[in-house]
């Protein structure tokens, strides 16, 4: 296999059978991408995996996935470590309980290639989030070019879903931070989103693609509140700088 176009990295810690639909959806999406001629490497990153999880992924059914074991104990750090070991031009993560739409990988690579051809530094996200399990709803993303985009929303929530397809360079220059230790929380995706926008990366939506998110009820309100206080401390979110966050063309102007 030559240099992969794409590294697909599924992360798991304690999940087992819930990964069945996840991995089936990933297989379909990988097959579709390969059918378009893209070279895809498939990786399961097991971070401090439980015995049950390790046993689950040792099934012959997953023989076509490389299994890497880590002991990072942190989603951000294991992602960073997996990126370092992977070889794709682009990286697509997958949480072990979510599902890709079949076309996500193929359309995502195509979108990133098209953007690169135009000289744009782009991170891709699915067009829709369809939430299931803990409540069914559809989340419509707003991309940075939309007139509805406002950087102030980044104070409140992560603008972009954690699921993205990213040029390797973005991950290497802006690695995920580790957990917010005092609060025991993880908000790596949110910070990654803000810091990439601040660095001039454009987040785009890939038409017709979907991430299906399994929503389990946790104390999201409290987490969200604590995270908001952390987000406010990011330099890009300073009250006198936030208005410039993600302004298209801003980063290139600065450069």
């Amino acid at each position: 296999m030559g240099t992969p176009d794409l590294s697909v990295i599924a992360t798991a810690h304690s999940e087992t059978v819930v990964c069945g639909p996840t991995m089936r959806s990933a297989d379909l999406a990988v097959d579709a991408a390969r059918a378009r001629g893209y070279v895809v490497e498939t990786i399961v990153a097991l971070d401090g995996a439980t015995e049950a999880t390790r046993a689950y992924f040792e099934q012959p059914r997953f023989g076509h996935w490389v299994r890497w074991e880590f002991a990072e104990g942190d989603l951000g750090r294991v992602r960073n470590a997996a990126v370092a070991r992977s070889g794709g031009r682009y990286v697509a993560f997958l949480d072990a309980d979510d599902l890709y739409s079949e076309n996500w990988l193929a359309e995502g690579v195509a979108a990133l290639d098209a953007a690169a051809a135009e000289g744009r530094r782009v991170i891709a996200h699915p067009e829709l989030n369809v939430m299931f399990d803990g409540g069914n709803s559809v989340l419509v993303h707003i991309d940075q070019a939309s007139p509805l985009f406002t950087p102030y929303f980044a104070y409140l929530r992560n603008y972009h879903d954690s699921l993205c397809m990213t040029p390797r360079e973005a991950h290497l220059t802006i690695p995920y931070v580790s957990r917010d230790i005092p609060n025991g929380l993880s908000f790596q995706d949110w910070q990654f989103s803000i810091e990439t926008m601040a660095a001039g990366w454009e987040h785009i939506l890939v038409r017709d693609t979907i991430i299906f998110k399994r929503r389990r009820d946790t104390s999201l309100g409290q987490e969200s509140s604590n995270r908001r206080s952390i987000v406010r401390k990011l330099p890009a979110m300073a009250i006198d700088r936030v208005q410039d966050l993600a302004r298209l063309g801003k980063a290139s102007e600065r450069a």
């Binding site: 739409s101 419509v140 102030y152 299906f212």
Partner: protein, 640 residues
Amino acid sequence: MRQWASRVRPTAGADGPDVEETQGLASSVFERLRWCAHPRFYLAQLDEGERGRLGDEPGVEAVVKHYLEVGAPRGLRVSALFNPDWYADRLAEIGLAVPDGEVPFLHWLRTGWDRRVVPTPLFDPDWYLEHHPVLESHPRWILHHYLTRGCYQPQWVPSPAGRHHGGAADDGAARRQDPLFLPELLHRAVDHDLTRTSWLEEGVRAVLDRRRRLDDPALRTQIDIAADLEPGLHSPLRVELPTVAPPYAHPGTRMAEAATAAHSALGVDQVDTVVLVPHCRMSGAARVAGLFTDAARVAGGPDSVAVVSTDLPVFERPSLFPDDVRVLDLTRHVAGMAQPARRDVLHDLLQALRPARVVLINSLLGWQLVGERGEDVAGFADVGAYLFTWEIDEHGHRYGYPVGPFQQGLPHLSWVLFDSDRMRAELVDRYLMPAAARDRMIFLRNPIADFSVDVGGVLERRRAAGLPVRVLWAGRFDRQKRFDLVVDIARLRPDLEICAWGKPVLEDIDLDPDDLPPNIRLMGVYDGFDQLPLDEVDFLLYTSGWDGIPNVVLEGAQSGLPIVASAVGGVPEVVTPETGYPVAEVDDPAAYVAAIEALLADPAAAAARAAELRRQVHQLFDADDYRSRIAKLLAEGPMS
């Protein structure tokens, strides 16, 4: 312009038998227009001069008239629920169009309404009826319900894109015809041509577009494939699924922008002290806020203090504050926001200003913030406060900052200043404060005003000359100040000539100037106590039902006026039988008359008491002492 309104009547036949006209419109059409009119939305499309001519709250009638005369020919929108482009698209779907030269909105009122054409993306009649089946018996077109009720009440969800607002009720919304979604509609107004669309309408259209996208065969195929893999993914496209498109639907977006805009408007990145005031108008608290701000500014230097006005967009007496202290009217940044959004905007603003301390001086929003999020605020700043007095309702029950807000906020307050020692002692006793709390309760006299007047001897000269007895009363014509007692006193002693200065502020009493006794003269507002004709009156009458240490009493005292005063709150700390004529039976007009008669019976004794009072207040209520104690408090804390 009435002629113009008539000129645009070519489709008026849709109204059938209507013959009566109002401003050129058939009465039924005019009635629809009134239902649809949203004054604040219309004002937002006018320039400052036009808004000024219409006034802050012109009301529906004035706005409709202005719209017909001025707005309609210019293409302005008078209704937030009419979108001309959306209407044109819906008309086209039924093979119609607005004739050239006709105002689309008026065309809709005459023609589109009868054809049940919904002219806004904000309302979906099928959704509305499906989700509010109780409305199936509504006697009119269902849009009528949303227009006249639904858009003013939070429980009515009009569209699959949601309710369009934060969900808080607003009791005055229907009266003002301010739809609850108006703040969202006016959000980022400068980025939109409000005559055609808005942040909200664009957001809703984005949601609706995305919902339509869900019917796209390509997306449906993707969902079907995934649903085959994961049975939990059943029926994700049911119409009742909430669909959201942040950021437009998230009230926090407006809050974050408001906090940033307020910070920018203040024009300073960081300050040491933020003074929170409710507004600035004729009140003792406003004067104290000015005194404290001045003292803090002297202690910290230029740009060390900012004043934030939190509750009402009124700042009538800026001269009370130092010229070089920045004042922010936060109310214009949080207009239309429901709680707790306003509270949180204030929190975020304060956090951004990184002050060493935040000081509450009768700011309701400030007390709410400290009561509900005091731990957060105390995490980045010391919190201080002033407490002046209780309020008393019409049933005689006490309420106000010393009750709930103080109890809730106390754990987060580094110190509390009282201008009345009695008030301090009462709270310490009432709440059985332990030493740790008691030590943070500080009695500090406010300094007397910076003027030098001495009318000592005037009373004796006027009495010796046999002039009519002239009484000075000055203050707000509000329930607290008990002007009703003044009226009773005037009737009991028709020989008194009572000159009453001031104006109603809270407008919580009925005061009919034509129904006053002839010996009461309303003199109007005054700008500074020393500007009053103090050498043409015999004494000061003070009648408040409750108070702290009232400024007017201090100002009368420092001027050498004899004083007859209700012995409420902190007044007995100033007016005693040795220094004036305190009235213990504060509700009894006869008690005041008795005190007045005692004063008049011995002018020399009254003058002596006034002189003693003048000496005491000049000694005890000293400005330099006040400033140095504030500086010490700010530098060293309450234990200094």
